[in-house]
């Protein structure tokens, strides 16, 4: 899974039937300290995340194991809103 920050939303009226009602968010990947890294992705939100929330994103086939995403054509899902990251070097 990767750490990220919600930076935007995507509106798409015409989409795969199984994505109707899904919330699509633009996520910027970040390092554990919250600094932006290169790269954006669009992920399905399953935990009611909001703009600027730090989130946990699962990618690849595993994304369809997230709640409510079985048999949907997705490859990235937001499955957690991060309270804190503790680092020790």
């Amino acid at each position: 899974m990767i750490l990220g920050r919600v930076v935007g939303t995507v509106v798409a009226t015409r989409k795969d039937d199984r994505l109707v009602g899904a919330k699509l968010l633009v996520v910027r990947t970040t390092d554990p300290s919250g600094r932006d890294e290169a790269g954006h992705m669009v992920a399905i939100d399953t935990v009611d995340a909001g703009l600027s929330d730090r989130v946990l994103v699962v990618t690849g086939s595993s994304a369809r194991m997230a709640s409510g995403l079985k048999d949907t054509p997705v490859d990235a899902a937001i499955i957690g809103v991060i309270d804190s990251v503790e680092m020790k070097e």
């Binding site: 935007g8 509106v11 992705m41 669009v42 399905i44 054509p73 997705v74």
Partner: protein
């Protein structure tokens, strides 16, 4: 998923039987501002997207198979939505 722009269509008369009738699009992945990033990707289209459309691109074999909806097939990318708008916050 990635944001992409449809930059072309691909016609291939001779192709894997599971792909018969499937529409193939050439997609340029872009960042939220629309700037191109990385190489173009060939994806099957399940939402009738057209050239110039901004789209949602999934790049995962099983996700693409779900989008194609014909059982196991040799696909690894699919267009699953046409983007109306991307709103960026902070």
């Amino acid at each position: 998923m990635q944001i992409g722009r449809v930059v072309g269509t691909v016609v291939a008369t001779q192709k894997n039987a599971k792909l018969e009738g499937a529409k193939l699009l050439l997609i340029q992945p872009v960042d939220p501002s629309g700037a191109p990033k990385g190489p173009t990707v060939l994806a099957i289209d399940s939402v009738s997207a057209g050239i110039g459309d901004r789209v949602l691109l999934v790049q995962d074999g099983k996700a693409a198979i779900q989008a194609l909806g014909r059982g196991v097939a040799a696909v690894d990318a699919a267009v699953v939505g046409v983007i109306d708008e991307v709103e960026m916050g902070a």
